[in-house]
């Protein structure tokens, strides 16, 4: 990476520090994915819960 020919294997090797560097980036990716997925799941749960509440109330006949 110092001006000479670019090689992917050298890139992935990270000058011998591959384990540390890629674990760091991997964990960051995990964190990003987790932070995107968990609010989406939560949103679905909240919505289905409200829908259930609405259904329950319309069934028992006291809307609102």
């Amino acid at each position: 990476m110092n001006g000479s020919e670019f090689s992917w294997s050298e890139f992935f090797n990270m000058g011998g520090y591959a384990v540390f560097v890629w674990t760091s980036y991997g964990l960051a990716l995990v964190m990003v994915v987790a932070n995107i997925v968990s609010p989406i799941i939560e949103r679905k749960r909240v919505i289905s819960r409200i829908k259930r509440a609405i259904r329950r109330e319309t069934n028992t006949g006291k809307a609102g």
Partner: protein, 249 residues
């Protein structure tokens, strides 16, 4: 005049208004976060030169430093919005605070783990009681305390106020903790200078670092809004507008 501003604030911070506005803002934050993130990664991994002392391992800082900055930044945001919620009784501020905590804890965790992964090749050990790592560890405890208190109180309003007060107490303490940890660190291990934040940095290294930091902020903005919207839906679930909205989904 003051009354008008106050009225404007109240209208803007009404959960319903927030819900529709934030829905429009989230895509913009998300898209710019992705663009900057990809650009920052490219700059950091391909363009930035190899460090002459640390070799390639220094590339961890493009994750570690933004995460460490975010961990502090989010705590301050959390405390400020908790303070606004506590003093002016603005529910939206409480929701922002509550929505921030898990994200902040995640960033703190990443800062800790990447710090220790960077430390292994540098110090020869995964954990060294370095000032920054120790501060991050304490910060993680503060986040855990906030979340534990928040979830242990049944009544939502009380939980918001109690944990909000804790966040404010925490933010007053952070400088004191930070200072004492720094002092303690120089005392016991003056030799290990943290190279993660060395002041004179090559421009090609600095740019990806700043880009990644901004990307992280935008990412936080997007996620905190999504989470706050969940809170709005849940807490306002008995209101008519939420019901109408949910039925359309």
């Amino acid at each position: 005049m003051f009354k008008r501003i106050w009225g404007w604030i109240q209208r803007f911070s009404s959960p319903k208004h927030f819900y529709s506005i934030s829905g429009k803002m989230i895509p913009w934050f998300a898209i710019s976060a992705i663009f900057l993130g990809v650009y920052g990664l490219y700059m950091g991994l391909f363009v930035a030169p190899t460090d002459y002392q640390q070799g390639e391992s220094y590339r961890i800082i493009f994750i570690h430093v933004p995460a460490a900055w975010m961990s502090m930044f989010i705590y301050v945001v959390m405390a400020v919005s908790a303070g606004i919620g506590l003093i002016w009784q603005i529910k939206l501020a409480d929701m922002i605070a509550a929505a921030s905590a898990p994200i902040g804890a995640w960033f703190t965790f990443i800062a800790l783990v990447t710090g220790s992964l960077w430390g292994k090749p540098m110090w020869g050990a995964y954990w060294v009681w370095d000032a920054r790592l120790t501060s991050e560890l304490i910060l993680l405890f503060l986040y855990f305390g906030y979340m534990a208190l928040q979830s242990s109180i049944e009544d939502q309003r009380t939980a918001d106020k109690a944990s909000g007060l804790l966040a404010i107490v925490g933010v007053v303490n952070i400088p004191i903790i930070h200072y004492s940890v720094q002092w303690w660190n120089t005392l016991h291990q003056g030799a290990t200078v943290s190279k993660l934040d060395k002041p004179s940095m090559h421009v090609d290294m600095l740019i990806p670092l700043l880009v990644m930091a901004i990307a992280a902020k935008l990412f936080y903005a997007a996620i905190v809004l999504v989470r706050a919207r969940n809170q709005v839906l849940y807490r306002e679930r008995n209101r008519q507008w939420v019901r109408e909205l949910v039925e359309k989904l």
